[in-house]
């Protein structure tokens, strides 16, 4: 079978992507504590570039330290980070893969504040306590809003200077931009809260600021949660942002000069509808402890995870709004199509990328051919199969059932304390060592060590020193 649709190039205003598979934003805590990147991150991104995805959307990249979700994620808060991102870009570009940096700010959704933020209330569109972990926040001042808008614009400028292909605003999954957009979260009474227009003001000002800073030829896309599903976990809460709200926001953003829309779901992360699948409580018991000091409800959650009587209650609440496993793939496509159809009436060159459990070529081809979206973004199934595109789809094959992502979400829970990777032992035929070996492969090749100003010997193409040094050596 030939999946031609998959391999149709996708044309953005400023560049073309070779196929319709995007690596969605995902990363582990690979980087240095202070937000400077390191070799493991490059190794991580190269895994997917080498697997022939058309483009990589970086993991969550904070525009300032206040806006990070946890330490050990590379940031773009300062010009001194430009060389690292340049290195990432060059390493990925070697495989004809585009690299889009995801500009992000956690707002109140700060899983582990880190020592720099430890004594600060996180900034948000509300001062209400977040319902799941019990994260604390306060209203941003107008000055802080303006500063943050500028930080986003500066982040875009740095990405541009680093030679990356574009940026994505992380306006989905409960981070700061969602916190402004969401009618369930935003409790501001000023021009940034209340009506949809007011709630969208923050992101539209970011778009305008970025455009002002980087011009109109630098790719800028928006990731948006088409629906809040605010009552997915706690049924007594209100529903939050509707699809109609999101369509309107997307229309405004396209008018403002956004080049693509990336459709996701849910107004927090993780969310019962993103990433969909199981909630592996046994892994939560092992790794959630790192968050115990982060929120006021974390002890409650941990009690629910540990206590065998409470566990089923949590499972029920979490899974009650889930799709059945066979419906996970492409679960967001109806919303993506609605958005796509709406924005095409304004600008038919603005593609829509849809995320949500994609891992079969036929399904991806189907949704693209049927006009649900123009491309798909994939995270967990690509972690499971880095070579999804060139190892299977390019050869006209689907991934064998036993190798597919099971949507177990063990990767999601492990990322809190362990290197990101696929922790589904069944995919390794029960070989635990093989699983660990695969997970640890992100640390290969090793970083070079600078001692007394001299680089150690390394000749690997993706080695940080060679890339930063502009030495584009081929694979040894």
């Amino acid at each position: 079978m030939v999946f031609n649709t998959l391999f149709q190039p996708l044309k953005f205003r400023s560049f073309t992507v070779k196929n319709r598979i995007f690596r969605s934003s995902i990363s582990g805590r690979f980087d240095n504590y202070d937000g400077s990147g390191n070799q493991a991150r490059i190794n991580w991104e190269v895994k997917f570039a080498r697997g022939s995805v058309g483009a990589i959307i970086s993991s969550y990249v904070p525009v300032n330290i206040r806006g990070r979700i946890m330490p050990n994620y590379a940031t773009i808060d300062d010009d001194d980070k430009i060389p690292f991102w340049q290195a990432v870009g060059r390493a990925v570009h070697q495989y004809d893969c585009r690299y889009i940096l995801q500009l992000s700010h956690s707002g109140r959704q700060q899983d582990i504040p880190g020592v720099e933020n430890e004594f600060e209330r996180s900034l948000s569109s509300t001062d209400r306590v977040e319902g799941f972990h019990g994260l604390i926040s306060r209203f941003m001042t107008i000055e802080e809003i303006e500063q943050t808008i500028d930080d986003f614009a500066e982040g875009a400028r740095r990405a541009q200077e680093a030679g990356l292909d574009g940026v994505e605003l992380h306006g989905a999954n409960g981070y700061l931009i969602t916190q402004f957009l969401s009618s369930a979260i935003n409790t501001r009474k000023d021009k940034y809260g209340g009506s949809l227009e007011n709630r969208a003001r923050f992101v539209r000002q970011i778009v305008k600021a970025i455009r002002k800073k980087v011009g109109h030829n630098f790719h800028l896309q928006m990731k948006i949660s088409a629906m809040d599903y605010n009552n997915a976990l706690f049924f007594w809460e209100k529903r939050g942002t509707t699809l109609e709200d999101s369509i309107q926001v997307c229309k405004w953003l396209v008018e403002d000069g956004v080049d693509a829309i990336h459709v996701s779901a849910g107004n927090m992360f993780p969310h019962p509808r993103n990433p969909m699948g199981d909630f592996p409580i046994e892994h939560a018991v092992r790794w959630y402890d790192v968050m115990l000091s982060s929120g006021i409800y974390t002890h409650r959650n941990y009690l629910f995870f540990r206590n065998s009587l409470l566990k089923p209650i949590f499972k029920y609440l979490w899974l009650r709004s889930e799709e059945r496993p066979e419906n996970i793939e492409g679960a967001n496509t109806p919303q993506a199509r609605a958005i796509r159809e709406s924005i095409r009436s304004i600008d038919d060159t603005v593609p829509v990328i849809c995320t949500g459990g994609f891992q079969t070529a036929s399904k991806i081809c189907h949704v693209i051919e049927q006009g649900y979206c123009d491309a798909v973004s994939i995270a967990r199934p690509l972690i499971a199969n880095n070579n999804m595109v060139n190892g299977y789809f390019a050869q006209g094959r689907e991934i064998p059932q036993e190798k597919r992502c099971t949507y177990c979400n063990k990767c999601l829970l492990n990322v809190l304390e362990n290197p990101l990777g696929c922790y589904e032992l069944s995919r390794y035929d029960g070989d635990y060592k093989a699983m660990i070996h695969e997970v640890m492969s992100v640390y290969h090749p090793r970083p070079c060590y600078i001692t007394d100003g001299h680089h150690s010997q390394h000749t690997v193409d993706t080695n940080i020193s060679s890339v930063i040094g502009g030495d584009d050596a081929e694979d040894a």
């Binding site: 504040p113 004594f119 600060e120 209330r121 604390i136 000091s293 982060s294 006021i296």
Partner: protein
């Protein structure tokens, strides 16, 4: 910025601050909840407050005089005892306190004469009405009519206490047996169960101690009080003054049984010698002395409540004779003339000798009641109230019995201080012939007994008094009053001066007149 202030910002993370704030809030909530619980408990258990009544009649019948404090008995236990220990009730009687002649009104927890006080739990105690509300029936079948202030002709106090003592001595008087019975009347809160567990044990111990004190009156040789009578002063000797009577009550003083008096029209009695032997001339002291007899203690006696009753009984009118009587003015005039001649000086409110003590040598009625009150007891009584407002100052030891006014005399049968003479007609019969009308019984241990039945309330309008022959009413057996027992003699108040020598027609004329008083 001072160093310490600079550091303060880094002492707690926002999460820690919020958790502390919430913990403090939780503590406040807990404190408030705890306070509410405490208040509820306090509201439920803490007040030491009797049930009060705005209406004076209700206050008289059910109000507290303080006897429900120290000697109060738990209401809910009291309510189950007649059910649980029915074998100790008089045979055939209903399983409630009417078995002892108390008058039960509909909708009331306890009969007339019992007050209720909330002191942790509901306690009951006796009040004035226990001994001073009587009932009268026109016939065995007719409904009784209740008269306030009338001697409680049906109430057998000693039998009531004897019942309680027998219950307490029973092996079933335990929390395990009594609590389930209490719960049949209504749910007990866990706190209540705990309190009642203690209360049952305490009540048992208290009753057994009281039984030991009163045993002297319950021993087989001691004449039973029967309905309508009580030993007024001897209980002091085994209770309040027990330490001065360690050798027991001397033989000569041991029987002091007296008929309950009426308590209406008290104002005119102020200054008269009160009590049968006239040992006190103060109404108030007489009242407090009676309250102690009902179970109040000098610490807890409720002065206001007693004074309120006193004020009311000062002017409470005697009840009118409820049966047919003559309207013949001639007959009444004749009766009045005889009254004026024979009775007035000693028994009329305006009489020369009313309220004074007539020496025993003259009246020659039964001496036991007089002997039961002694100089020693009088001295102890005066010392008992030292430091209290009500302190006794007027008690004296007398040498006879007091002349009492005859208001409502029809309702004060049986007559004489010991209730040994059933009717006025009998009282106008020479003492040596008074037994002739009585019933003859073989004594259980041999010997003859002259008896008449009391405690049934069935009236004898002809002779003016209660019928002597009614053995049972509504299943409750009457008490056979035996005039041959110690202290029960019907002697005295006899001879020409006392009208026993009058012709029959004079006597009937006098009796007709006495009905009008």
């Amino acid at each position: 910025m001072p160093r310490t202030r600079r550091y303060q910002a880094y002492e707690n993370t926002p999460v820690e601050i919020e958790l502390k704030r919430r913990a403090a809030r939780c503590l406040w909530c807990l404190a408030v909840i705890l306070l509410i619980i405490l208040l509820l408990l306090a509201f439920r258990y803490a007040p030491n407050r009797p049930v009060t009544y705005a209406n004076i009649v209700d206050h008289f019948k059910y109000g507290s005089i303080g006897s429900d404090m120290e000697n109060g008995l738990p209401l809910r236990i009291m309510k189950v005892l007649p059910r649980m220990f029915s074998e100790y009730l008089p045979p055939g009687s209903p399983q409630d306190y009417t078995a002892f002649g108390f008058i039960q009104e509909k909708g009331k927890e306890m009969p007339i004469g019992f007050s209720i006080r909330r002191r942790i739990i509901d306690l009951v105690g006796l009040n004035c009405a226990a001994c001073h509300v009587g009932l009268v029936r026109a016939s065995i079948q007719s409904e009784p009519k209740v008269y306030l202030g009338m001697p409680a002709d049906t109430v057998d106090l000693l039998a009531f206490f004897d019942f309680l003592f027998q219950c307490a001595a029973d092996s079933r008087f335990t929390p395990e047996k009594i609590l389930p019975e209490i719960e049949k009347d209504g749910y007990l809160l866990p706190t209540d169960r705990y309190i009642y567990t203690i209360a049952i044990t305490e009540m048992r111990a208290g009753l057994l101690a009281r039984k030991a004190q009163l045993d002297v009156f319950l021993t087989p040789g001691h004449p039973r009080f029967g309905p309508g009578r009580v030993d007024t002063f001897n209980p002091y000797k085994v209770n309040q003054f027990a330490q001065w009577y360690r050798q027991g009550i001397p033989q000569i003083e041991q029987v002091g049984t007296a008929d309950f008096p009426s308590i209406w029209n008290q104002k005119v009695r102020e200054g008269m010698h009160l009590h049968w032997d006239g040992n006190n001339t103060s109404l108030r002291e007489r009242n407090f002395s009676a309250a102690f007899g009902a179970g109040a203690t000098r610490e807890n006696v409720d002065e206001q409540a007693i004074d309120r009753v006193q004020k009311w009984v000062e002017t409470l009118p005697p009840p009118a004779y409820p049966f047919a009587r003559t309207n013949d003015p001639k007959l009444l005039a004749r009766g009045k003339a005889i009254y004026d001649r024979y009775c007035f000086a000693c028994h009329d409110i305006h009489g020369q000798y009313v309220g004074q003590v007539l020496p025993l040598a003259e009246i020659r009625t039964d001496e036991h009641r007089l002997n039961s009150y002694t100089q020693k007891l009088r001295d102890l009584q005066l010392a008992y109230g030292q430091g209290y407002d009500w302190q006794f100052k007027h008690f004296i030891k007398t040498n006879g019995y007091a002349n009492v006014p005859l208001d409502g005399i029809w309702a004060r049968a049986p007559y004489l201080h010991n209730g040994s003479v059933p009717t006025l007609q009998d009282l106008l019969t020479p003492a040596e012939r008074r037994a002739d009308r009585l019933l003859y019984q073989e004594g259980k241990t041999g010997g003859a007994r002259s008896i008449f039945y009391v405690g049934h309330g069935v009236y004898d309008p002809k002779n003016v008094g209660f019928r002597i022959d009614v053995k049972e009413v509504d299943g409750r057996r009457s008490f056979a009053y035996d005039i041959t027992q110690t202290g029960n003699s019907n002697k005295g108040h006899t001879g020409q001066r006392y009208g026993t020598e009058l012709s029959d027609s004079d006597k009937w004329a006098l009796i007709e007149y006495l009905k009008t008083l």
